[in-house]
Amino acid sequence: MPAWLIPYTMLLPGLLVIAVLLLYPLYQMVDMSFHKVGLRQIRPNPQPAEFLGLDNYTQALQSDLFWISLRNTVTFAVITVALTLVTGTLVGLLMHKLGKKMSTFVIVGIMAAWATPPTATAIIWKWMFDPDAGVVNWLLNLLPDGLSTLVFGRADWSGQPWLNDSSTIYLVLIVAVVWASFPFIAVSVLAGLKSIPSELYEAATVDGSSPVMTFRKITFPLLKPVFSVLLVLSIIWDFKVFTQLYVLAGGTTNRDAFNLSLWAYTEAFSAPPKMGFGAAIAVILTVIMLLITAVYVRQIVRTEDVR
């Protein structure tokens, strides 16, 4: 084999996998979104799919479910990304300040949340938010009645059904997803902090800089590349959240709780399957995500050493 062929040969299997399992389906998803793909097209000896032009898209945009799903998707992503990044950064800063033993203790502790599989995460929080035997209602009942009434407008939480109504389903979902995803942010921020030379902080202290000032003028600018990677990853993860929502909403029956992923899945896989329509929703979701992340993706490509 000529020497110049060697790297291409080694790359070939991986490239084939990516092309067949990621790029081609991506093309197919777009293609299907312009067609009517139903039972007749997925049976053995499929009939050719009827070309619909933009019909799937207009139908999606005119559906009530589109606005419900879009609102749920965006609200959830904004709140969860913000909470995850803030919590994760604070915990990262905290671990940086702690002594060696204590910081190891915290790392091992938060790893429990991080390592829990998404299905188990959702199930655990579903159990903790159980109306009758859940530990959350028990905890809320512990609050002094006056305080609880003042803050929440009620004192008795026994039997509060968190998982019936879409807004409280999303509340539980936010808690569950933040719980599972802040550890990764925290550990990444910690890794970034450790790479900042301590001389900078010593100089800042000598100059009498306040902690907030030090964070704004030294820590944040130096960790900016880390934060942009973390921001993009969090947006991607939270925009398309599926597993935890599927478990908490109890499958595909609660239409008010749909986000775009769950809606696309439901249209494509419940009877009768409307795969072209589902694909159109998936394309809309992907385009929204690409628009939001495009700017940051460019920045990652620039900072990552791909040369």
């Binding site: 790359l11 389906p25 997925i42 790893m111 299905t119 597993t243 694909a279």
Partner: protein
């Protein structure tokens, strides 16, 4: 006793915050395990029972013998293990070859390939579900664990290559050059010199792929119909009935599913982070 100075006060405040963070993270996992070992009258109560007063193996035994959806939980754990191990075996060979190519050779389209790796990681798996479902069906892999393995290889590979490439690049090139001068063939150099040195990185990467495949839910839900071939995450859904949920059983099964992941996590946590944010931290 030393006086309580401001610094010491600050330090104990920070430590207290650390303990709170740990409590918040660990309690739900602890609660899963505690519920798994509680008898039903300690589970279905409005009282708070911090730990099993009369610990029982009933739930664990029940899910392992009687199981759920007609099969023992052993079967689902086995299916999950087959999918995860299969993904790792196929994926790590492909990843090692590609990672060596991009970090040991300079060639045209090398940069394009690396950018491609980054970009395909942005594609939401859920969006590709529909075309992949049809593809798997046409290939006759529907309802087969092999179909799940193939799809999981696709979704774990870009990150695996990305992570492994830093490990290969860390091995000094001089070692391979020395072997080549001593007359070793390219294959021998790869197998006897590079491979042993990259092995720890390969293990870390493999564990990451294993966890991803072990946890994977959406594809397992869509590509498998036969209950005997369910993986653990899908099987867990069947503990919830129309009227009631077998919380003891579901917590026992969740515990069995979570233990291997937590064990693996403790092994590779550091490397996973450095892989995920590789390059971004460089000053």
């Amino acid at each position: 006793m030393r006086p309580l100075t401001a610094t010491r006060l600050k330090k104990s405040g920070l430590n207290a915050a650390g303990v709170l963070v740990v409590l918040f993270s660990v309690f739900p996992v602890y609660w899963m395990v505690a519920t798994a070992f509680k008898p039903n009258d300690e589970i279905f109560t409005t009282r708070f029972i911090p730990f099993p007063l009369a610990p029982t193996m009933d739930h664990v035994q029940r899910v392992l013998t009687k199981g759920v959806a007609g099969h023992s939980v052993w079967q689902y754990l086995l299916n999950s293990a087959i999918v995860a191990v299969g993904t790792v075996l196929i994926g790590s060979v492909f990843a090692l070859l590609a990672a060596t190519a991009v970090s040991r050779f300079r060639f045209r389209f090398r940069t394009s390939f690396l950018i491609l790796l980054l970009i395909v990681q942005m594609v939401p798996a859920e969006a590709l579900l529909i075309p992949l479902f049809l593809m798997v069906k046409r290939l006759g892999l529907y309802d087969q664990l092999l179909g799940l393995i193939v799809v999981n290889v696709g979704f774990t590979l870009p990150f695996a290559i990305w992570m492994l490439r830093t490990f290969v690049a860390a091995v000094p090139k001089e070692l391979e050059e020395a072997a080549a001068i001593d007359g070793a063939s390219r294959f021998v150099t790869f197998w006897k010199v590079l491979f042993p040195l990259v092995a720890p990185g390969l293990v870390a990467t493999s564990i990451f792929s294993f966890i991803t495949a072990w946890n994977e839910f959406v594809f397992a839900l869509t590509l498998i119909n036969d209950q005997g071939k369910y993986t653990m995450p899908v099987a867990l859904q069947f503990f919830t009935g129309q009227r009631s949920t077998d919380w003891g059983g579901i917590m026992a099964a969740s515990t069995l599913m979570t233990i291997p992941v937590i064990a693996f996590f403790l092994l590779v946590q550091r490397r996973m982070v450095s892989g995920l944010v590789a390059g971004a931290v460089k000053g």
